[in-house]
Symmetry: C2
Subunit: 114 residues, 2 copies
């Protein structure tokens, strides 16, 4: 498995606006080959920003790379430039290979969507 | 859901030793209340280190906090001080609240363990 993360330093006071952009978008992801799961994550608050991370899980890195070159990717990012700046600088991309997975008993209790 | 991450800057040349410590340990996690899933992730290489991230998923932040105060946590971390330094500085902790989850068609094809 491969996990692609983008870290966003969201400007203080713009958190709700940033979340609204993400939560109201059409992800165009559901039917993309090799796409497993997406999470939008809100992280710790810092002095001048709140850290957010978008976090997508893929069967492998090749599936992620193919998506970034697809029409579905362009469609999902088409409106991104229309918003006023909500975060500092550029998002920081980090890709991770999954080396080990351990499942817990609470896994079966995980809701299908939230 | 809540995701707890620790970021490790692993010294160049110590990657295999670092992975061995993690992959050979007893996690003591499977039966911890509220524990959903753990991943060990290998991230991008930088000039003087390779980024790794340990990444555990919980039903909520309270379940994670309770685990850090438990005997299972102490047992899992008891031997951590016996190893020679494999990473630069201290691990950097970041906790994230899951705001949105999108599931893909490839999810059902995900192996139970890898």
């Amino acid at each position: 498995m491969f996990i692609a993360m983008n870290r966003f330093k969201v400007i203080k006071g713009e958190e709700k606006a940033f979340e609204k952009v993400w939560l109201s978008r059409d992800t165009h992801l559901e039917s993309v080959p090799g796409f497993i799961e997406f999470h939008l994550l809100r992280g710790p608050e810092q002095d001048d920003h709140t850290l957010y991370s978008s976090h997508s899980v893929w069967t492998n890195q090749a599936a992620f790379t193919a998506w970034t070159q697809s029409e579905a990717f362009r469609a999902a990012h088409r409106t991104a430039g229309d918003n006023k700046p909500l975060y500092l600088g550029h998002p920081q991309f980090e890709g991770f290979e999954v080396l080990q997975t351990v499942h817990g008993a609470a896994r079966s209790a995980r809701p299908a969507a939230e």
